[in-house]
């Protein structure tokens, strides 16, 4: 039993995580590039043109995976931040900090590509649809987290304050989503529903899944690289970081 526990927490040590992430990151970059190339090829050249929307729909292959990632990463960020706060695990807090910019950029990509899609499909860049509005609010939550953690100079306080904010945000996300939905039906704002999408051809689904895996690989890769940088910054007093810097200098 105890051996199992030790095994689980092996990579909670920043030095071991640093080595692991460094070893895995190149493969993740390769996987992300290969999957994205395959996904984009199938999405742009193999998948059939949509009967109603023409070729404009093809932005879906970036838009939908980005929107998924934006939500998954927020939950992962809040989870790691909570673990870091409650168990006082440094590596978990560093991972939460490393996840935030990637989540924010995926949210931004989802909104941006959504606007590009909205123009040909609906004739407008933006509608105050419940999903669009909640995605925008999610971006505000990410920005709030990043702004708060960056504004606090003391690392430990920044991690804990960010954790509390991320948890409060995660609890509020469903409340916000449902109130925005209700608000939207009250105001009769958008007449277009995105839920009534036509059934997808299987090649489209393949492309979308490939792009989703590509985004997952990219997210892992970039978060690992960022987390490695954070580890070096915070552990700069540790012997193993000094030894590493010394080795770099010689080489």
């Amino acid at each position: 039993m105890s051996a199992e526990r030790i095994h689980w927490f092996t990579f909670a040590a920043p030095s071991r995580f640093y080595a692991l992430a460094g070893a895995v990151a190149p493969w993740l970059w390769v996987a992300a590039a290969a999957l994205a190339a395959a996904g984009l090829y199938i999405g742009f050249f193999v998948a059939p043109t949509d009967a109603q929307q023409g070729d404009a729909y093809r932005i879906i292959f970036i838009h939908v995976p980005a929107a998924w990632m934006s939500m998954v990463i927020y939950m992962a960020m809040a989870g790691w931040a909570a673990v870091g706060w409650m168990l006082n695990a440094r590596m978990a807090s560093m991972l939460a900090r490393a996840l935030a910019p990637t989540g924010a950029i995926f949210t931004f990509i989802a909104l941006w590509t959504g606007a590009f899609w909205g123009k040909p499909a609906w004739g407008t860049w933006w509608v105050w649809d419940a999903r669009l509005t909640s995605e925008l609010i999610l971006l505000f939550l990410y920005l709030g987290y990043i702004a708060l953690t960056e504004a606090i100079d003391d690392v430990r306080r920044a991690d804990k304050a960010g954790a509390l904010l991320a948890i409060v945000g995660a609890v509020n996300v469903p409340i916000i989503y449902f109130s925005v939905r209700w608000w939207n039906t009250l105001h009769q704002g958008a007449t277009i529903s995105m839920t009534a999408a036509p059934k997808m051809a299987s090649t489209m689904l393949t492309a979308m899944l490939l792009m989703t895996f590509a985004f997952w690989a990219y997210a892992f890769a970039v978060v690992f690289v960022r987390a490695r940088a954070i580890v070096l910054e915070r552990e700069s007093h540790a012997d193993w970081v000094r030894a590493l810097a010394h080795k770099e200098q010689i080489a």
């Binding site: 702004a147 504004a151 904010l165 409060v168 945000g169 509020n172 916000i176 109130s179 925005v180 608000w183």
Partner: protein, 222 residues
């Protein structure tokens, strides 16, 4: 427990009464901000009537946010906040009492003034009553949510802007159902559902915000 609540609450009110002009600033901000809308969008009565509930609610929201910076700042600066947390008394009660005092000093005057502004923007008396009631139910939620933001940003350089950025997204449900109540009544429906949800939001935040604020204060003062 309730002695502590009353003591902290009364202390905050007494302190505010010693600085009356400062205590009135949020309401002055509300009046000035709400007056800008007719100047900005034009004086057509129909247009003003349509946007009135939203204008009053958004201005109340902003007035609450801007007054939050001072919620813990002076206690933090003179060390009394640290003493309160070290006293061994429940930090949750202190946080709840301070949020209640904040609402009495900013939320309540807003509720009292809001009908006047609704009137200036051309709302009829039925909508005014709904607007007032929705603010009465909604503004305590804003004070409670805001106290979490105020505690998290304690002593930071850009605390004022940060509080707005942190708390505004969380206060969107209160805004939606607050203005929704007025829209429902103007559309000939009952506002009961909106009151119920505003009440539910208030209960939820009243139960969760003080512990979160207490935790945030501990983090900030560590």
């Amino acid at each position: 427990m309730s002695d502590l609540f009353i003591a902290v609450y009364a202390r905050d009110l007494r302190l505010a009464m010693r600085r009356r002009i400062e205590a009135m600033l949020p309401i002055v901000f509300f009046i000035v901000a709400a007056s800008l809308f007719p100047l900005g969008v034009g004086p057509e009565p129909q247009m003003l009537q349509q946007i009135a509930p939203g204008v009053v609610w958004v201005c109340a929201l902003l007035a609450t946010m801007l007054s939050l910076t001072s919620l813990y700042a002076s206690d933090y600066a003179d060390g009394s906040l640290e003493q309160m947390l070290l006293s061994g008394e429940s930090a949750v009660i202190v946080a709840a009492a301070k949020a209640a005092a904040h609402w009495t000093l900013t939320g309540l005057p807003l509720v009292v003034c809001a009908p006047l502004f609704g009137l200036l923007l051309g709302m009829d008396s039925a909508s005014l009553a709904v607007l007032t009631l929705s603010l009465l139910l909604g503004t305590p939620t804003l004070s409670l949510l805001g106290s979490v933001g105020a505690a998290l940003t304690l002593g930071l350089r850009s605390a004022g802007m940060l509080i707005v950025l942190l708390v505004l997204p969380l206060s969107i449900p209160a805004l939606i159902f607050g203005t929704g109540a007025v829209v429902a009544v103007e559309g000939g429906q009952s506002a009961m559902a909106h009151y119920s949800i505003l009440g539910a939001l208030l209960i939820l935040t009243a139960l969760t915000a003080p512990p979160a604020t207490a935790a945030a204060l501990r983090i900030s003062l560590e």
